[in-house]
Every structure is written in C-alpha cells, then in structure tokens.
Amino acid sequence: MLRIDQLNVTYGGLQALDGISIDVKAGEFVAVVGPNGAGKTTLFKSISGTVIPWRGTMLFDGVDLATLAAYERPHLGIAHVPEGRKVFSGMTVFENLEMGASTEEGRRRWNDTLDLLFTMFPRLKDRRDQYAGTLSGGEQQMLAIGRGLASAPKLLMLDEPSMGLSPSMTDVIFDAVAKIHKEQGLTILLVEQRVAEALENCDHAYVLETGRVVLQGSLEELSSDDRVRRAYLGL
C-alpha cells in the first residue's frame, strides 16, 4: 500500500532522514520506533507533504506522492494524526470531526463513522459541543484519532499518540488503536517512543536511529534481538 524507497530529507544541510526504505502492506500494523530526533516525525511529514524530501520515492497505491500537493494526499486515503494532537481548539468536538470528514469518502460514510467513533470513545459523545481546546490531553488524543478516522482512510498514521499522557490513558489509546486495526482491518502506521507498547500489537516494526533504519522485522524477530531487548525493552 505504501512503499517508501531511499528517502532522504535534509533541513538546511542537516541530514534528518538518510536513505529510509519502508514498506506497509494493506491490512498491516507497522510500527516505527526510535529515540527522540531519530527522524520519525520527519518521516510522517514527508509522507503527508509538509516536508519536501530531497531524494527518494514514495508510492501510495501506486501513486507517486511527490506529484500531489500536501492537501491532496488525504483524499487518497491517508490520515495523519499529528504529533501533539493539534486539534482545532476554537472549534467544537463535533466540528473537529466534521473537518476530518473533508474527504469524499469520509462524507459518504459520515453517519456510520460517527456511530463507530461515539461507541469507541463515548467521552467524545458526551463532549460533542464543547470546544476542543477545553478537553484534557487524553480526550484531545481521542479526538485527534477520531478526526483521522472520520476521513474514512485506507491508512491511518499515528504520530506518538502517547505523548504527554498518563500510563493508564496511554493504555486506553493503544487498546483503541489495536481494536481499530483488528475490527476494521485498517492499515496502521504508528510512530512511538514507547517501544514496548508499540511493538506489542504490530505485525512489523522498524527501528530508526539518527535518520536510518538500523533494524527491522516482525515482533518475534525484534523482541529476540539483543540490542532491542537491552536498549528499548529493558530486559
């Protein structure tokens, strides 16, 4: 579904991504883990088009993403839930979700999606007419994910959904994501610093360090790797 080949991104001469190749197949749950500054968010922004790569190709369902402007890419079925949530704070919860459904597919499936979202996150239903800026961090993350799902995407990209959340709220969010993946069969690309939780549910993972893929494989392969066990899982 998403094939990234030899992606290079530089910020004013500083190499942020150095020849990254990533493959996400339809229906897969793929995690990209790594420490701060590894280039995880840059990778996501390149896919979404808010960062322009210097070299490399990105194909989504066979479409070369470089030929599309950033705002056109969600209409292909890519939903990006950004780091730090970035909800529309002066708009209500409901309006935020409506904005998520800006894509044609999202508008077509609006009623079904809304039912699904409100069943999955009843708190959003309770607060549907409240300004998003007044929600707690966890609720904002639910809203950000809900807003992404409202576009009825083929690929859901989550950029550090656990950021700034309590451990119990993080569990709630990760459970929800795992459930979406299992029940909807939605393809998920997750970026996380919390490696243990991220690896728990994924089919395939990439370990990023200073802009390079240093390791990749299935959950079993990674969790039996000594480097991962020592550096990330604390075993």
Binding site: T50, M99, G133, S151
Partner: protein, 316 residues
C-alpha cells in the same frame, strides 16, 4: 427636554456610524483571524471600494431604472469586484508572506514582512488613486442622504428625532451582511474549513483542506467587506485618495476592543467606537471626539485586556 432630544439624536447617529464601523472591523478581523496577517491596507481597500461604487453608480447602472436604490445596488456590486481584486492580491502578493511560505520564518519575521508589504500596498493604492483620480473629493449624490424619517417623541408636542434615510438603510445593510457572514463562517463547510485553517494550518492540511486557498478566500472576503462598507459610506461621506488613513486606525481600535480574531467581537468593537465617537460630542468639543475614542479604548483594555470577546477557551 432639549438635552434628551439631542442625546437620542446623537445615539441614532452613533448607531448608524457604529454599524458601518462594525462592518469595517469585521472585514479586518476576518483577515487577521484567519490568516494572522496584519493588513494596513484595509482602509485603502475601503477607499477603492468607495471609488468603485461611484463608478458603478455613475456609469453602469442607469438611474432611470433603479431610482433611489442606485447607490445601494452599486455598493452591493462592489462585492464581486473587490472579492476578485482581494483574491488576486492574496494569491500574487500576500501569500508570499503568510501561511506555509512563511512557516519557516518565526512569527515575528513573518509579521515584519507582512507589515511592510501591506504598508507598501497602502501607499501604492493611495498614490495610484491620486494619480488616476486626482485629489479632489468625490461623492455619490443620493436624494436619500438629504431626507429623513421623523419620529416624534411623545414627551411634548414638538420634540422629534430624525432618521436619515440613507444612513438608516446603510445601517440595516451592514447588520444583515455581518449576520450573513457570521452564519457563513460558523455554519457552512467552507466557513468551518476557514476556521480550521486559522486554528491550525498544519492539521488542516492533514484533513485535506487547501489552506492556501482558504487564506485567499479569507482575504478576498475581507477585501469585499471593506469594499461594500466603503460603497455604503460614500453615500454620505466623500471619498479622496487618502480617506483610508483615518479609518484604518478606527478599524484596528475596533478589532482590538472586540478581541483579536473574534468576528462578533469586531462588530461590537466597531459599534462601540461609533457610539463613543458620536456620544462624546454631547460632553466634549467635537474636535476631541477621536480623543474620546482612545480614552475609552485604553480604559476598556485596562479592565479587559483580551477585549470584549477575546478567546479564553485555550487550555494550557
């Protein structure tokens, strides 16, 4: 009794001026609220609207057909003209200093570029109008601006207040436009997309919203509103190329008073300024009416620094 009559008459004048100021402030607030662009050319865009209205009324609309409605129809026709003008301005010029192109700059740097650009635009519009149209004031003659509806006060036999017909119709049009615009921004999908782009342009892009286009539409709408407000104003206020300078200060005061970024607030901010400007003449010499505006302005900000409708929904 004479004082009561005078006070009511001044109140009527204040309300009618306030409606026009309110509309002008709404146009500016729209541009600031959605694009975060500080536009110093807003008064001059109003001036262009005034000239366009005169042009349309004198050369496009046959007075024999539209009669006394001619100036008002001319003002309405300013909207599409100025919308297109504003869209082009934003697309060709303003967008280079705003939104994504300026995303790599810090907020301060981007604002400096916008300030200089909009000041330059203001100078070009003023001096361009000067070269093309000369410096002598022009006016739209309407029979309605010299006639009034008389409403008797029932306190005695001879007291009455007068509603200037042109100003009253103007005020009603201003309120209607402000309400329609507010509805558009709050309730329609395009309006909501504009707000989303204003709230977080990066996230708006991830929703598939064309943020550059949203900015162009916002600027075009703001320009069109400055234009129609000018078109209505010129029915009783003569235009010359530098007329915008006085108004842009009033517009900024109104927008700040109402709370930066709030469209409803901007209308009430403009209304407050209109009322203060007119009512102050009851107590202080007329030369001091603009001083009175800023005394009230400072006083309000001292008590409520975020303005009447300043946003306080943000959670830290």
């Amino acid at each position: 009794m004479i004082f009561v009559e005078q006070a009511l008459q001044t109140l009527v004048a204040g309300l009618s001026v306030g409606c026009i100021y309110g509309l002008l402030c709404v146009g500016l607030a729209l541009i600031f609220g959605i694009m975060r662009v500080i536009n110093f050319a807003q008064g001059d865009l109003m001036m262009v609207g005034m000239y366009v209205a005169i042009f349309v009324a004198s050369f496009v609309l046959p007075p024999a057909v539209f009669g006394v409605a001619t100036p008002f129809i001319a003002a309405l026709l300013v909207v599409p003209v100025m919308f297109i003008f504003g869209y082009l301005l934003s697309w060709v010029l303003i967008s280079r200093t705003a939104g994504l192109k300026a995303a790599s700059l810090t907020e301060g740097d981007a604002h400096q570029a916008q300030l200089i650009l909009s000041l330059g635009l203001a100078l070009i519009l003023q001096n361009g109008a000067h070269i093309l149209l000369g410096s002598s004031p022009a006016a739209m003659i309407s029979p309605l601006s010299s006639s009034a509806w008389e409403v008797p006060l029932l306190i005695d036999d001879f007291s009455a207040i007068f509603f200037n017909k042109a100003r009253t119709v103007n005020a009603v049009i201003c309120v209607v436009i402000s309400v329609v615009l507010f509805w558009f921004i709050q309730k329609t999908r395009i309006g909501k997309s504009l707000r989303a782009a204003a709230s977080n342009s990066e996230a708006a892009i991830y929703m598939g919203i064309n943020v550059s286009k949203a900015h162009n539409i916002a600027f075009a709408l703001g320009t069109a509103i400055a234009g129609i407000a000018g078109g209505l104003l010129v029915i009783y206020y003569p235009v010359q190329p530098h007329v915008g300078v006085d108004f842009v200060i009033i517009m900024y005061a109104g927008v700040v008073l109402g709370g930066m970024g709030s469209i409803v607030g901007a209308f009430w901010g403009g209304m407050t300024i209109g009322l203060v400007q007119q009512l102050s003449t009851l107590f202080v010499p007329i030369q001091l009416q603009n001083t009175a505006i800023f005394v009230v302005f400072l006083f309000v900000l001292l008590i409520k620094p975020e303005g009447f409708f300043g946003r306080t929904v943000e959670r830290a």
